[in-house]
Amino acid sequence: MGILEVKNVGKRFGGLQALSDVNLSVQENSVHAIIGPNGAGKSTLLNCFVGKLIPDTGSVMFNGQSVLGLKPHQINQMGISRVFQTPEIFSDLDVMENVMISCFARRDGSFRMHPFETVAHETDIVEQAEKMLTEVNMIDKRHMHASSLSRGDKRRLEMAMCLAQEPKLLLLDEPTAGMARADTNNTIDLLKEIREKRDITMAIIEHDMHVVFSLADRITVLAQGTPLVEDTPENIKGHPKVKEAYLGEAA
């Protein structure tokens, strides 16, 4: 039994069958990559995990509980955090405030009326946030405005915000999309480091094979909305069906 169990998921947009019969099991404390050519339905699938989309058929279970029909914030409170393709951060706030919001969300739940407390007096939250920023090497930038960060730092900040919630499952949507090689390698190192330091499960959607093969324990190849194969990276590398799917895209 995996931490995330996807059974027979199907989703249709008008005349387009975006997903059909998707079965997937993400094991606890593993890194599971979902790869596939453009339009294979990777993002659609991810959106079904986080509550942005509701599949037409099938079930998505997290830790034995269904997530279908729940709002994004409810699913997040269950322990799923998400990193976006382009970093989603609070760009009008400073770095410290960005991380503190995550800490508050973890401590107080999805809503708490606390209009007469003072942020600066919440010492435990401040400490947590500072610890988190130290972990991603951003503590010296804690008073910077988030909008003035470099793209790589924005990605780091978003990662820190997700990790501050201590999620059980971290979803990463093409975390290195549009990055230069050096930045990509930094991100890979950061993810490896995170993995070593804490018990965390990751599901990565990725285009870049280099990233996938340096991180993943298991890989699912998606093509035209259905999983083709699921196997270890070694076995996926030479798999004829995978070659076919990717060559088919190139031709």
């Binding site: 986080v50 709002k71 994004p72 914030h73 997040n76 409170q77 955090s81 998400r82 976006f84 989603e88 951060i89 609070f90 760009s91 009008d92 706030l93 405030e97 503190m100 919001i101 995550s102 508050f104 969300a105 973890r106 107080d108 739940g109 999805s110 809503f111 708490r112 009326m113 606390h114 209009p115 007469f116 407390e117 003072t118 942020v119 600066a120 007096h121 919440e122 939250i125 008073h143 910077m144 405005h145 915000m161 919630q165």
Partner: protein, 398 residues
């Protein structure tokens, strides 16, 4: 110097605001009565009360618009509801303002809860139009079927045959706070200058300081942080496990209560309530005050409210004779030309100046007066540090 759970900087800030508010009657009366510049005096009790009341209105509006970015075009409805509540309490109980103000805050909170619950299901321009629709509905209803409650076009007022069950033999016959009558005042003569201390003003000023302190606490609280986060990126907020709806609703209700309080204070100064207070142009005015001062800043709405009410007063008082006096030293042709041009902006045309000001602020100074002040301060500072040479390039702003 820390107190009341505020940081040192905020405490200083609050003390400055308190001082400014309490000395307003003196500050606004810098020129002796009867001198040529007395026109620029603004020490009339009713004008100062308006400063404080619209300040409260704008502080509350800022909690919604400044922090969350939700632009409501219907806040005047709460203002009107607040006024009606107070006048009804006068009619039923008597001229004490306390029950009326309490009722006004409660009623406007309930009203805001209902309107906010529905309107906040949409965002952006759709939210603005929903709030506008609700306010216009209230305004139209106040003039038509709700006449038994609002007294229609005449406006709600106290009549001699009203019950006023708590009125005793010696109770004041105009609004009062535990016997302190609002429209009475004491005068002080200092070396030929006359200062007016008005009970009504000091009452509203103290209420204004209290609610300003509350808004300060909200700004610095985790709740305020969440509201600012909503303005920046709602997607991230939701994917961080936070439900934005109750936060925005709470902000909406709080700002509605501020508006209700402001409306209540209006009726505390002058025991009247009319539906025109609910018209959407009144909502537009509070938007203007907040933007002009600087939305999302603590000081902005107060500055904006003061600025607009002060210049409204001055500009509407200026008339032809004054213009002639001022420009008399110029050659006739230029004098007449200048008077002709000034005509567009003063007297009854004050709204034109207001509209123009509105446009100029949005175009050139989207951050409002507060940002403008910061820019000037920064320029001075950078010039100074250039002169010093040593201290150039210290740290990035903020």
């Amino acid at each position: 110097m820390k107190m009341l759970g505020l940081s040192r900087k905020d405490t200083t800030f609050l003390l400055i605001v308190i001082a400014l508010t309490l000395f307003t009657p003196i500050l606004l009366q810098p020129f002796p009565e009867g001198s040529g510049l007395a026109t620029f005096n603004a020490g009339y009790p009713d004008l100062m009360q308006r400063f404080a009341i619209f300040g409260i209105f704008a502080i509350g509006f800022n909690i919604l618009f400044g922090l969350t970015g939700y632009l409501s075009f219907g806040h005047a409805a709460f203002l009107g509801v607040g006024s009606y509540s107070v006048v009804w309490m006068y009619k039923l109980l008597g001229y004490s303002v306390v029950p009326g103000i309490l009722l006004a805050v409660v009623v406007s909170a309930v009203f805001a809860l209902v309107i906010g619950f529905i309107s906040l299901r949409r965002s952006g321009i759709y939210f603005s139009i929903l709030t506008l629709a609700f306010a216009q509905m209230s305004y139209n209803l106040a003039y038509s079927v709700l006449t038994p409650l609002t007294n229609g076009e005449t406006g709600l007022q106290v009549y001699t045959n009203d019950p006023q069950v708590l009125m005793g033999e010696n109770s004041p016959t105009s609004p009062h706070f535990f016997g302190i009558v609002m429209n009475e005042s004491s005068k002080l003569n200092v070396g030929g200058w006359e200062f007016t201390f008005n009970n009504g003003y000091y009452f509203t000023a103290i209420v204004a300081i209290l609610v300003f302190y509350l808004s300060m606490r909200i700004f610095r609280s985790p709740f305020g942080l969440m509201l600012r986060a909503i303005k920046t990126n709602q997607t991230r907020l939701n994917y961080t496990g936070l439900n934005s709806r109750p936060y925005t609703l709470a902000a909406f209700v709080i700002s509605g209560m501020y508006a209700g309080l402001a409306g209540a204070l209006m009726a505390s100064m002058d025991p009247l309530a009319g539906a025109e207070r609910m018209q959407w142009t009144a909502s537009g005015e509070v938007v203007l005050m907040t933007i002009l001062g600087g939305a999302g800043t603590l000081m902005g709405p107060i500055l904006g409210a003061g600025f607009i009410k002060y210049f409204e007063n001055i500009f509407s008082k200026i008339n032809d004779n004054m213009l002639h006096q001022w420009f008399a030293w110029m050659p006739d042709g230029i004098e007449n030309f200048l008077i002709g041009v000034s005509h567009f902006f003063v007297g009854k045309s004050w709204h034109l100046t207001l509209g123009l000001l509105f446009m100029l602020v949005v175009i050139f100074l989207p951050g409002g007066l507060v940002e403008g002040g910061q820019r000037i301060a920064r320029r001075f500072r950078s010039r100074k540090s250039k002169d010093d040479g040593s201290e150039a390039q210290t740290q990035p702003a903020e």
